[in-house]
């Protein structure tokens, strides 16, 4: 079967996976990698905030997925399974890089948040639109919160899917998202971006 034959139709992820695990079909492998390389890359960049690291993690995650395709049980969507691998790879990558606190926070959570956040229009947010401000604000979030806000806000997943990818329950995910928004609001306010 040629790449052209495979790509001619919109072949479902599950069918591609079956062809790869059954026949090690190169064409199916190419289509699957091509379908997900840029998506995974776009997903992991906000987690790592470094383009070279994002390239590395994308490659590691896709290779790991291909290596473990036989363990994919077709219960969740393939993208959910793949994104879960990508999250684990990114987290381990950061741990090995030993980036903490002021650089990229893995686990620590700052608890000195205000007791309430005024989200009303009266707050008149005037956010500085340079990429550096958003990036540096994301750098201060713990990894789990950065993952939550990336999955829901940037990637557009619903809470159930995002929770499945993060391997937590939806309530926990919503909590992390809430904390992430609070923290970003606080950081951008303190930097005069309001």
């Amino acid at each position: 079967m040629s790449v052209k034959d495979v790509a001619q139709y919109t072949i479902a992820d599950t069918e591609l996976v079956r062809r790869i695990t059954a026949d090690n079909c190169p064409a199916a492998t190419s289509v699957l990698v091509e379908r997900y390389a840029s998506r995974v890359r776009a997903f992991v960049y906000p987690l790592l905030l470094n383009h070279a690291d994002a390239d590395d993690v994308t490659q590691i995650a896709l290779l790991r997925a291909l290596d473990n395709l036989a363990s994919y049980r077709f219960q969740a969507a393939f993208s959910t399974w793949l994104y879960r691998i990508a999250v684990n790879v990114a987290k381990n990558y950061l741990r090995q890089q030993n980036r903490h606190n002021s650089c990229l926070s893995i686990d620590a959570e700052v608890n000195n948040l205000p007791s309430s956040i005024d989200y009303s229009p009266v707050a008149q947010l005037e956010l500085n639109e340079t990429a550096d401000n958003i990036k540096s604000a994301l750098q201060e979030l713990p990894f789990d919160q950065r993952t939550a806000i990336t999955l829901v806000v940037i990637e557009g997943h619903d809470y159930q899917t995002a929770a499945a990818i993060s391997k937590c329950n939806p309530a926990t995910l919503r909590w992390r998202l809430h904390r992430a928004r609070q923290r970003l609001f606080q950081i951008l306010s303190e930097r005069g971006d309001l």
Partner: protein, 245 residues
């Protein structure tokens, strides 16, 4: 206004996406790596030669000698000292846990069923029908000591906020295979009856069921377990969560 932050994040993320050329390059790189990996023979387990085993054994023996010659670490403590510090630590943390619980209740429109904190990990559970009982903070702490050195060490702890007269089965930390089953009932004289079943996976595999009456704020020894050369103590401490105004 949180929508403003969300939109800014999306706009920022869109600017960071790889170009078509970068995506093609990345795809090609992955496929090349996969092809190279597929061609490599699978590594076979190697049998070490007797010379290598001798070297490893010698190194291990030297390491053990060094370890035993080092002065013993002062991280272990007497039980009284640990219980006292546990009581103080619990009192110090109550304000933070209460704030966390009340904030989460507000966020989830009073449908919060339970909340747990294990280290830096926070987990939450919701209930379609809000629980009606009083809320309590319950801390589980696991201590251990080796029969050789005699001092206690704190090896695991989790804080749980839940309502009395409400049966729970939860995983307080999704990164570990730990489950807690719990039922509490408020008694007179500032006491709480706690029935619990703890199944801990790490740092030690421990299973214990307890039925205890706890006085608010007091550290209570709920279980004592001996496993080979190690002894474990499970501590429980509880206090009510004040009603939010």
């Amino acid at each position: 206004m949180k929508n403003v932050i969300d939109q800014k994040l999306r706009d920022w993320a869109a600017e960071q996406r790889p170009s078509a050329e970068q995506s093609s390059s990345l795809t090609a790189s992955v496929l090349k790596a996969w092809q190279q990996k597929s061609r490599l023979p699978k590594p076979r387990p190697r049998n070490l030669s007797p010379v290598v085993w001798t070297g490893i054994a010698t190194t291990l023996a030297a390491a053990l000698i060094v370890v035993f010659m080092l002065p013993k670490a002062s991280s272990v403590a007497s039980l009284d000292t640990l219980l006292s510090s546990e009581r103080k630590s619990f009192q110090d943390d109550i304000t933070r846990i209460t704030h966390l619980f009340q904030e989460a209740e507000t966020l989830f429109d009073n449908q919060l069923h339970w909340l747990s904190q294990s280290g830096q990990a926070t987990e939450l559970g919701l209930a379609a029908t809000p629980p009606t009982g009083d809320a309590f903070t319950l801390r589980f702490t696991l201590l251990s000591r080796s029969h050789d050195n005699g001092g206690w060490q704190r090896i695991w702890s989790t804080d749980l906020v839940a309502h009395d007269d409400d049966y729970l089965e939860i995983t307080p930390d999704s990164s570990r295979a730990t489950t807690i089953s719990l039922w509490m009932h408020r008694l007179k004289n500032n006491q709480l009856f706690v029935e619990s079943h703890l199944q801990l996976d790490s740092p030690r595999s421990i299973q214990t069921a307890t039925s205890e009456v706890l006085s608010f704020g007091e550290v209570h020894t709920a279980a004592r377990i001996t496993d080979n050369n190690t002894e474990y103590l499970l501590l429980q401490t509880a206090t009510p969560i004040p009603c939010s105004s």
